[in-house]
């Protein structure tokens, strides 16, 4: 069933589609033409025919999919792309390097699709822009009021002091951080604090894309399964928490950087010692703030606590409804080339 969210975005069983551009937005499976908001695997499926995204996202997409042979169409922030009766613009989303929100404007109104976003500043991505729109499709990964994160300085301070305390005690600081975005951000923070970093391969291989964007990592090196030297911190994705890479280090202090670190249970789930609720997503307050600044007539919520956040918005007089999450989407059929609704 196809549900038009606005004349220019449809929610189909396979995902979100912008017919004016004959393109899918962040589709869960390969398609002829995809508009990608950022290069995280859950938004950027492999094997698209054509990819529209920021140059940074395209660079990261290529690093993650070295065999990709499709066509890239790099779009700078603010660059206007005309379509069939509509105009498309990518706006900064502040989530990770290259991340974008998608804005579609027509004479009959406008739509803003946030992708993943955050309002607070960071070292490797510009903060999200709030462009007014009549329809807002917002992510709601942390769409419950228990998810409120401290400010950036406080979080960076907690990371640095946890690492310093570990080093002082003779323990190896092990920082659990997602490979794209969080790891490089943490490496930059630790570099400034005079702590050298050893990066898991998944994060290391993305560094050239960050370096091309003007970020430097002079005291980082790739992990080589050898020892982590005194004074160094090891950075690994959370999925490595139970692997030998970490477990073989008997003297370790595991620092978990994630919005999910709000939950005490993540301590036992990831065998973590220090929980730092540092997220690349908007927290609950910022989700509300973004809705307020965009001032839409209608909101659709996506990912995480979509139904709860829609209910909370509704109780505040903003009509909102949840969209099915990516894992509920059907595969896009190979025959899909038509823009017809």
């Amino acid at each position: 069933m196809t549900e038009p969210l606005s004349p220019f975005l449809e929610s189909r069983p396979e995902g979100l589609r912008a017919p004016a551009f004959d393109a899918w937005i962040d589709p869960a499976s390969a398609c002829p033409r995809a508009i990608l908001t950022h290069a995280h695997a859950d938004h950027a499926a492999a094997g698209h025919g054509e990819v529209w995204a920021t140059p940074e996202t395209i660079a990261l997409y290529r690093r993650r999919n070295p065999d990709w042979s499709g066509v890239a169409r790099p779009l700078g922030y603010g660059e206007r792309v005309p379509g069939d009766g509509a105009e498309l613009t990518l706006l900064s989303a502040g989530h990770v390097l290259g991340s974008a929100q998608v804005r579609i404007e027509t004479d009959g109104g406008s739509l803003l699709y946030t992708g993943d976003f955050k309002l607070r500043t960071s070292r490797t991505s510009a903060p999200a822009v709030a462009a007014p729109a009549s329809v807002l499709v917002t992510e709601t990964t942390f769409g419950l009021p228990v998810f409120r994160f401290p400010g950036r300085e406080a979080l960076e301070g907690r990371l640095v002091s946890a690492c310093r305390e570990a080093l002082a005690a003779g323990d190896t600081p092990v920082v659990l951080a997602y490979a794209l975005g969080k790891a490089q951000e943490a490496a930059a923070v630790l570099t400034d604090a005079g702590i050298a970093t050893v990066l898991h391969g998944a994060a290391w291989k993305l560094l050239p894309a960050f370096e091309a964007a003007g970020h430097a990592f002079p005291s980082s090196r790739p992990y080589d399964s050898g020892p982590v030297r005194d004074g160094e911190a090891l950075l690994a994705p959370p999925s490595c928490s139970r692997t030998e890479m970490i477990r073989k280090r008997k003297r370790r202090r595991v620092i978990y950087l994630s919005g999910w670190a709000v939950r005490e249970a993540s301590r036992s789930e990831l065998d973590a010692d220090v929980l730092v609720p540092w997220s690349d997503h908007a927290d609950f307050d910022d989700l509300l703030r973004h809705v307020e600044s965009v001032a839409p007539q209608r909101v659709f919520t996506l990912h995480g606590f979509a139904a709860d956040f829609a209910r909370i918005l509704g109780s505040r007089g903003v009509p909102a409804e949840p969209l099915p999450d990516r894992e509920e989407r059907l595969a896009i059929p190979d025959s899909d080339t038509s823009a017809s609704a």
Binding site: A28, L144, P145, V146, F147, R148, S239, R253, W260, V262, R263, E264, A265, S266, R267, E269, D273, V274, L275, G304, F305, D308, R311, I312, S315, P324, E327, E328, R329, L330
Partner: protein, 549 residues
Amino acid sequence: MTAYRTLAEALERVASSRGRLAKVAVLAEALRAVGPEELAVGARLLSGSPFAEWDEAVTSVGWATVVKAAVAVTGWDPDTIRACASAIGDLGEAVSLLMPPQTENGLAVGEVDALFRSISRARKPAERGAMLEEALRRSGAVEAKYLLKTLSGGLRIGADVTTVEEAIASAFSADREAVARARRDSGDVGETAAAARTGALDAIAFRLFHPIGFMLASPIEEAEEVEPELPAFAVEDKFDGIRAHAHKDGPRVALFSRTLDEVTAQFPEIAARLGQGDGTWLLDGEIVAWRDGRPDSFFKLQRRLGRKAPEPELLEEIPAAFVAYDCLAAGGRPLFESPWGERRAELERIGAESGIVVSKVSSASSAAELEALFVQARERGNEGLVLKRRDSAYQAGKRGRAWRKWKKALATLDVVVTAVEQGHGKRAGMLSDYTFAVQDGERLVNIGKAYSGLTDEEIRRLGTRWRKTTLERYGPVRAVEPTLVIEVSFDSIQKSARHKSGFALRFPRIVRLREDKPVSEITTLDEVRELYARVSGEGADKPRSSGSP
């Protein structure tokens, strides 16, 4: 006057310290910071219990009552609070994250104690709710968190009461063993802390009819683990019942459960039986359903649980008995420090005198012999084996290596997933709970439901599959196309009307995904019947060779 916040913050530090020593150090510091007159209460609160272990008082505050108080204090609606609790995986933690900034003076330790006592005396949920709401209004986030965790019956900070014992010893330079003994005999970590501070631990003595902690066994996975030590161990069947201590002084009898609650009235036939004859003693053992001179299934005993006084019909239908396997005191003399061998001799003397059922003891000199004993125990309808070091003292309230238990999964079944639903905590929003079936001719018949065993990543990957193959939705449950085969293990199998197959599994968990296996090759109901016949000793209804390739 000590602020409760001091204790709550200490508990928060305990949660985030790695290793027992670090946790003990934080607790010891907190104990020293509590004033002498509040030390008993402080020590209890640090161990996560509102009252002394022997105290029958309970703070039954239900989920709904806490949600209601949280609505009043945080201003969030019940749906949001419930969603938050599910997302965080702990209601107390979720409420603490929703707490507004503290405006009033915090609670003192003594006030928290008074709150718990008033709550335990209140008759109506509404009264308890009002008391809780008032306390929450005066709390900051960290106080609210530990207040609610204590009410919910568990701090889950990686420290238990024995960690607090160690902290007491460290804080007041007392002997670790003396602290443990005093806590065991007093049934109160608070009284113990106060006595340790003044060097009066020796004044605490064993009292009959005062509940005592239970010695617990550590699990083993296979016989080889204990093979080198086997000569030192006595071997007994592991009964599938309710662990209990029986205190007796002539006709007076009291039964205490693992939670140190008195359950005497629930088992009048046992109390009457043990009350016969003379004797003054404390026996450790198991309450089991009893039929034809041997233990019957735990599933039967379950129907006797949670009733204050059973009706005569139920007593007749499911009689219970006490099987004794240890003697902790005889003639007023405590035997905790005596080796198991001496206690056993005393137990056998009491058994011979009174006719009370006493467990049988055997020994094994090799893994193979132990394996044979295991099979025999299973054939008798018991869960497995317990091994007890003959030279070991009774370490009340501890899980040590002097006692070992061996249960092992009964078998594995290849089953197909027929329905899925959302899990809780971090798995909220993930379809992580699976109902599964075996085949009966052309039909699939459900036999159980498993919650664990898969990684988050596997669950997430399969989530897509379930959403695409949903046939029907019943509230939170999705019936799905039966296409995925999984291998499940379990501890025992029972007849049950709960599932269509007529059987139920105890502790089922997913061993692995069998995406390689077609549904036509899953376990058949006949194979399940044969398995049941084998382990229960009952004849199979319809034995037939299985056609599974």
